[in-house]
Symmetry: C2
Subunit: 582 residues, 2 copies
């Protein structure tokens, strides 16, 4: 395990020259944050050419040390470092922020040396903790995160959390001998580094404008490109300080990382549910996750201090060494899981109340920009949680996750389909969200039933069907009850379980609509906006009625609330009749 | 100004008895968190019957001191205190969490003694800071926030931020003589209180189960109702400790709060834009906000360290004493603004990049549950920001705000309509979101043009129109360019500016669709999901083509990106032609 790596002494002047070459490149690139780049030049020089071990020609090599540029607006500095390491060609740096270049304004994994996209201040330390966690399981690697003063200043909130139980603290606990530290304000190349052992180094950069003649410590330079008339004289002044042209070669990594595969994970045993059993989908999630953990040692689970409600506790009981308790800090939880998932080192699942994932929306969207493979399970969706009231009811989570590019949104309606959703999520790229419910509902699928992403199930059907009703979770069971009640009255309806809301099985829905006179009713335990109804409304050739929760709900018994907010069996029957009235 | 209020000595035993009566009531109510209630009973007793000044019969009296139950799951304790104060009747407490009662599982403003809904841990201190801020402007009042260990523990993140620049620190700075403090772990009634001066007291409650025989300090009691067989013996044990039945009457407030009105604010002068001027809507926001601040001394503005990008700096320059810099801490900013807005003490506007409001989604949703009147302005929406890349581009913000109950979503397309949006937002209940853009776009409305919420403008029209195109912000200007280009080719289209996306002017849209053969095209600088296209798709009798951003974007020039993601003039012309091809 890499940890403390004292500097080779006598390299100080060469490192100072590297730092100044990085400054010159960052200024030439004409980015928007020259001071933020220049203030961290020494730190980058020391990290990339002294402390870190990596193959410069293979930036994504699994054995390479990891680096997170938490202050993503200093991207030109990162690009300059990879040019110094000869991975990027000098002329490419001048394509910064151009449409045909991968050198974006803030770093993204379009570049092989970027594991996690940054540009949202404050997330870096949590991400680095997650990376270090995957790595410490493998007993190797050093992870560094570089943050600016805002990261350690106003954004301290997130960093304090990251330093706590689920962050650096967890590493120390999970990994005896690891002594993670935050290092200080200033790095004097050639000294001190050796005094900062540990898996994580989170630096605060220098005062704005570090070493820029006429700019250092002056006000109002942050976030402003260097004016053309100034830039050449500043570059000249910096170049005049360069004493040697010694090229420093980074140390190679210790190649101790086995190539692991996280693909093709199968459940070790079939589902053990019997049709008619009453099982909450949130519990089926926990059962499935524990089974998945037995299928692969690379499955890691996190929870935000709700494990006895989300049932991730079943995973913890079975695989305690691969469970990370993140406490009530959902933002940090998502930062940590982003890091855990980096470089395909783990299959990661994080769970909490679906309502509380709204606290991490910005981190989830960064996960999409990071091309990250995350699985998130949100329990206690909708008014059907009952007495705890609106603050605990997720009614906007489908809208939130549908708006995440490439996100797969699972909304299983029974225990068997929940188990399939967990297994499919483990094997699906991108961000997956699994929405689970609190109430116990009957198992409707046989244990051997197969499910595919984007494939709906027609769960109730006859040739006489005159309306198609789409329900999910608790409302699918309300729709089935409505179908049976209406059948007694001689009205037949078709009932569809979409299984995934994104992607949506448009073909099955459109075909059913055609078979039922174009009449479609959606019923969901979610707000109207961004929910199932709006997802379906985009499809052509149907007359849609959307039954959804309108307005802020309240406490009450689940059944009372389904009635009050018009998504119960009663409301579905009324809507079906209304379809013909109009 | 209320601040330090030494306890009247010799009341300690009476306060201890109050605390035990609160425990008994909380246990009788059979809530889910008896230990969380009982552990804070002494604190509640001291606050409600010693420290705070209020009219118990008029809980919403403007001169009353304020109390925020940050640990909202201890709601039964709050209800018990108001029963002790004789505002609630004892039997009502037994209706806790029932559908016909306002005593919800977590407190909401359906109760007159609740200013801000809680149930999301960690927000209380920021909210209390905001309340104290509105109050200190009025030179009165004491605000207390009560949080549990999670609030001060794992959730420390948010609280550290609240203690910083934009929170308690700001109060000290804005209000010389205010010495806000966090008081300690334990309150011994009858002592110490006097040593904790200041406007804010944020307590950590006792170890789980405080004073519950057989429960105190035992494991696994958190969040569990007391079992029926145990509860009576525990209640008996507590009652046996009650020595007196002295009823303590809270101290009346100092009635020094003038009744203020924040209704009917009008701009002091007409818009000063000329049709054809090129002005960014983000700049028009700053201009309008500064004018609004001149119209009413009750207008307060906050920003998340982006004031020179959102142009809220124009308000700061004009009204520095009513500007709160919240730095890069959007969650705390929304908590603070929630508090500022409480009890209609201020007209509040907060601004940052629209992308960064996703960091505060959970706080915004709590704002809706709090029935709060907030105005949020998100700048730099969409790919049209250009080079900074996807982490800075808001493409999910319309989806997010549409999913907030009762939220008004303004998406102005020029400077005049932006100024109207700001004035309408100031006079509109609930949460208002104003989406502004980075690029400069032409002013298209005359200065005297009037706008209404839910009223769209048909900005381009002829009797020969064959397609209706709906655009907003930069895409409205792309649509107008397409209309002119197509007209040259003999194809006429109608162009609509929706002005508000929620509520949507369905009548105008449906009428235009009917007038143009049912053919509608929406074009938006936002992801497909939850955006303008889906909002329109719900309307009947139209064939809709939705042009929106698909997939994670990248850096580039704004015009290049509009083309690349298919929302430019070129793409609109192609879509119009495609409408007839199919």
């Amino acid at each position: 395990l890499a940890g403390s790596r004292p500097l080779q002494h006598g390299r100080g002047s060469a490192l100072r020259d590297v730092a100044n070459r990085l400054r010159v490149r960052a200024l030439r690139a004409r980015g928007n944050h020259p001071t933020s780049c220049c203030s961290a030049a020494e730190i980058a020089a020391v990290l990339f050419f002294q402390a870190m071990r990596y193959w410069a020609r293979q930036p994504a090599h699994p054995s390479n040390d990891c680096f997170v540029l938490s202050k993503g607006h200093a991207a030109p500095l990162l690009y300059a470092a990879w040019a110094e390491a000869s991975f990027l060609k000098e002329p490419e740096l001048l394509n910064l922020r151009k449409i045909n270049s991968d050198l974006e304004g803030h770093p993204t994994p379009r570049l092989p040396f970027v594991d996690v996209a940054t540009g949202l201040l404050g997330q870096g330390l949590g991400v680095a903790c997650g990376m270090a966690y995957s790595r410490q399981v493998l007993r190797q690697g050093q992870v560094s995160a570089l943050g600016g003063r805002p990261s350690l200043g106003q954004m301290a909130g997130e960093n304090w959390v990251a330093m706590g139980g689920a962050g650096v603290g967890k590493l120390g606990e999970a990994w005896p001998g690891c002594d993670p530290t935050l290092s200080g304000q200033w790095v004097d190349p050639g000294s001190h580094w050796g005094e900062n052992p540990g898996v994580l180094a989170h630096f605060c950069s220098l005062p704005g404008g570090g070493s820029l003649p006429g700019v250092e410590d002056a006000e109002n330079w942050h976030g402003k490109p260097m004016p053309k008339d100034k830039v050449e004289s500043i570059i000249g002044a910096i170049q005049s300080q360069i004493q040697t042209h010694e090229v420093l070669v980074p140390q190679p990594p210790i190649e101790d990382v086995p190539q692991i595969s996280i693909a093709g994970i199968c459940m070790p045993s079939p589902s053990e549910y019997t049709t008619g059993d009453k099982v909450a989908t949130r519990k089926a999630y926990g059962v499935a996750l524990a089974k998945l953990g037995a299928a692969s040692e690379h499955v890691v689970a996190l929870d935000g201090d709700t494990k006895n409600s989300t049932f991730s506790e079943l995973f913890k009981q079975a695989h305690p060494e691969r469970y990370i308790e993140c406490y009530i800090a959902e933002q940090n939880m998502v930062s940590v899981i982003l890091g855990c998932a980096a470089r395909d080192q783990a299959v990661v699942f994080a769970s909490t109340f679906a309502a509380f994932f709204t606290r991490a929306f910005v981190h989830i969207r960064m996960g999409a920009i990071s091309q990250s493979n995350l699985n998130l399970c949100g329990s206690h969706c909708g008014v059907s949680i009952g007495e705890d009231g609106p603050s605990q009811m997720a009614l906007e989570d489908i809208a939130m996750f549908r708006a995440i590019p490439g996100c797969t949104v699972f909304y299983p309606s029974d225990a068997v389909s929940t188990e399939r959703a967990v297994c499919l999520a483990a094997n699906t790229k991108g961000i997956c969200f699994i929405r689970t419910s609190r109430p116990e509902t009957p198992v409707i699928y046989p244990p051997e039933e197969t499910f595919e992403i984007g494939q709906a199930k027609v769960v109730h059907k006859s040739d006489a069907d005159r309306v198609t009703v789409i329900g999910a979770g608790v409302t699918l069971h309300e729709a089935l009850a409505a179908a049976h009640e209406l059948a007694k009255q001689g009205t037949h309806i078709r009932v569809i379980d979409p299984f995934t809301i994104k992607p949506l099985d448009a073909a099955t829905i459109v075909n059913s609509a055609q078979a039922t006179g174009g009449r479609i009713i959606t019923v969901e335990d979610h707000y109207t906006e961004g929910g199932i109804g709006e997802a379906v409304a985009g499809e052509p050739g149907m007359v849609l009625q959307s039954l959804a929760v309108c307005g802020v709900p309240q406490s009450g018994k689940p059944a009372e609330l389904l009635d009050l907010f018009g998504i119960s069996t009663k409301s579905i029957i009324a809507a079906v009749k209304n379809t013909f009235a109009s």
